[in-house]
Amino acid sequence: MEIAKRLQSLMVGTALLVTGLPSWAVVDSPGGPAVLQLNLQPPVTQIAREIYSLHNLMLYICLVIFLAVFAVMFYSIIKHRKSKGHKSASFHESTTVEIAWTVIPFLIVIGMALPATKTVVSMKDTSNADLTIKATGMQWKWGYDYIKGEGTGVSFLSSMATPREQIVDPTKIKSDNYLLEVDNEIVVPVNKKVRMIVTANDVIHSWSIPAFGVKQDAIPGFVRDAWFKAEKTGVYRGQCSELCGKEHAFMPIVVKVVTDDEYTQWAGAKIKEQAAKADDPNKVWTVDELKQRGAQVYAANCVACHQATGKGVPGAFPALDGSVVVTGPKIEQIKVVLNGRNAMPAWKMLSDTDIAAAITYTRNNWSNKAQENIVQPAEVLAARK
């Protein structure tokens, strides 16, 4: 190949490599994997410790078997090769051998199954929990409700906090908790048994925290439970663990384990905050107030598909800028946002005010100047029926 062509490929390759260089900064992720980590995450609960030991046990058993089998194999291949003139043994069956190499592996299996079963039985025992939290998987965020124990009544949505630019723009530096950070984390007290009730709104998700040794599928229409008792304070992270659509990689789970006092403080503050934020259902909003709030709602929820420019992705997600639905009668747009349509999920889990704000924002933004350009929260509430 000519030097000119080689040089060109070399330059293209180098350019691509260099644009990705910022992502090569290598640090231990504070709540996630360490640099060059190969093993499971350090266990923080009794169950996780048992899982870690079981994993080691099985790896050692595999190692012994591996060494034995490969030793025999290499010996046979090397010492009994044709040029050595080795004469093979002439027996082609041996009931003793067959029984031996059935019984011994069977015993090994039993030896692995007994401790494993013990741990599985403990994992299933969710009785006598100090605190019960319901986790609802949605496309593509988690919703948490504290339903029993101290902090009952706390309720919030938890979406990924990593900004979209960090994901798509190779020149942006990625945060230390890239893809593992959320806006509202679950807070639990240390050394208390927490029962997680896991369900879903739409498709199957899965709630998982490796450091706790917890993973439970969230199945729409069904409730399943799991439990953990964290023994160390700190922040622990996990990710949705069942394919749930396009943003499956972008709905992480973060649990902050704090002391009892800190927990009491947090729970109290959260309940007050919720009461304050609860929008007055009788308030009549102005276009500008709604637009301002709507811009935030749009950025947190709509931008992934419809893009910040409102132009969507041709062929996949319709543009909102200039869309018939957005500039036409508002009841149609309210219905689409509440109930979803085709690939667009239902957004009924958002509050009336958030939906009204987002719709008002789209109707007055980009080149849109809809005639019906303001939607009050009360109209969204009416449309839910």
Binding site: S76, V168, I204, I219
Partner: protein
């Protein structure tokens, strides 16, 4: 050289012109087990390349953290289609190709029992593969629900999912017909004196695999038909709001899925059981035990599908 005069009298024994078609007719109308075996193997090789390209797409995107090359939904389409194409387009047809080539030769039969059905089994595959691969081009793209097509995510997919369902139906029908052919051939057309326990090991493993195929491919067909009706005909098999159960899809799918992985490996066990004795220059050790072990694996495989569930 003497010239052969073709006798147009009713005595067809002299009429050689129709015995060995040439050109495209040789392949389209093939009933010869070696030709059909070759067709399967070339088809499998082509699908291996197609599935491989999809894997390269996955690897290219995963090379660095972040999204550089594609939208997340397209990435999910790649992983789904890579799985479906490799399983139903590459590995299963490849092993059927080996079966077609080797079984008649190894048992001393002149051909497979149902030579024309053999042809149909193969020629169902290219249209099914085209259906599967072109699902990338329809609005919404290919199915992005994973090769295991779990409900209710599969209900949300666009027309690409329906194309995948039809393609899998067709490929399943092809496998079932192939399995019937293999069982009939092995049980009925062995050379005189070849009892089952004298048969080459590869034929044993394929005999057992064929039984597995007949047992479980219809179950997969059931699961994906229920997905199809949930998607388009108002049923709620896997929709809790309608009284159904998403986990039931997992039960039914993995009742197929676990024996499926044995379907994919038992012929390979048979092949290895031929290669090692050939190069070790001695007969297979414990032939009878190997037969019983393979049969036990097949039977036990129906019981362990629970390992794959996620409830």
């Amino acid at each position: 050289m003497s010239t052969t005069v073709i006798d147009h009298a009713p005595d067809h024994s002299h009429d050689h012109a129709h015995d060995h078609p040439h050109g495209w007719r040789r392949w389209l109308y093939a009933t010869n087990h070696k030709d059909i075996g070759t067709l399967y193997l070339f088809f499998a090789l082509t699908m291996l390349m197609v599935g491989g390209v999809l894997a390269m797409g996955i690897r290219a995107e995963l090379f660095q953290p972040g999204l550089q090359l594609m939208q997340p939904e397209f990435f999910n389409q790649l992983t789904t289609m890579h799985g479906l194409i490799m399983i139903f387009g590459a590995i299963m047809p490849a092993f059927v190709g080996f079966a077609n080539w080797m079984i008649p030769l190894q048992i001393g039969a002149s051909d497979m029992a149902f030579a024309r059905m053999n042809n149909f089994s193969f020629w169902l595959l290219p249209p099914a593969a085209i259906l599967l691969v072109t699902s990338f081009l329809v609005p919404g793209g290919a199915s992005a629900a994973g090769w295991t097509m779990y409900a209710p995510l599969s209900t949300q997919m666009g027309p690409g999912m329906d194309m995948a369902i039809f393609a899998v139906h067709i490929m399943g029908a092809s496998s079932i017909m192939g399995a019937i052919n293999i069982i009939t051939t092995v049980l009925n057309m062995r050379a005189p004196g070849m009892t089952l326990m004298k048969m080459p090991m590869f034929c044993w493993t394929w005999l057992i695999t064929a039984y597995l195929l007949i047992a479980v491919m219809p179950v997969l067909a059931g699961a994906i038909t229920m997905t199809l009706t949930d998607r388009h005909f108002g049923t709620s098999f896997f929709n809790a709001a309608g009284g159904g159960d998403p986990v039931m899809f997992q039960h039914i799918f993995w009742f197929f899925g676990h024996p499926e992985v044995y379907i994919m490996i038992l012929p390979a066990f048979g092949i290895i059981s031929h290669i090692i004795p050939a190069f070790a220059r001695k007969p297979l050790f414990g032939y009878a035990s190997m037969v019983y072990a393979t049969a036990s694996i097949a039977i036990l495989s129906f019981l362990v599908s629970a390992n794959h569930w996620n409830a």
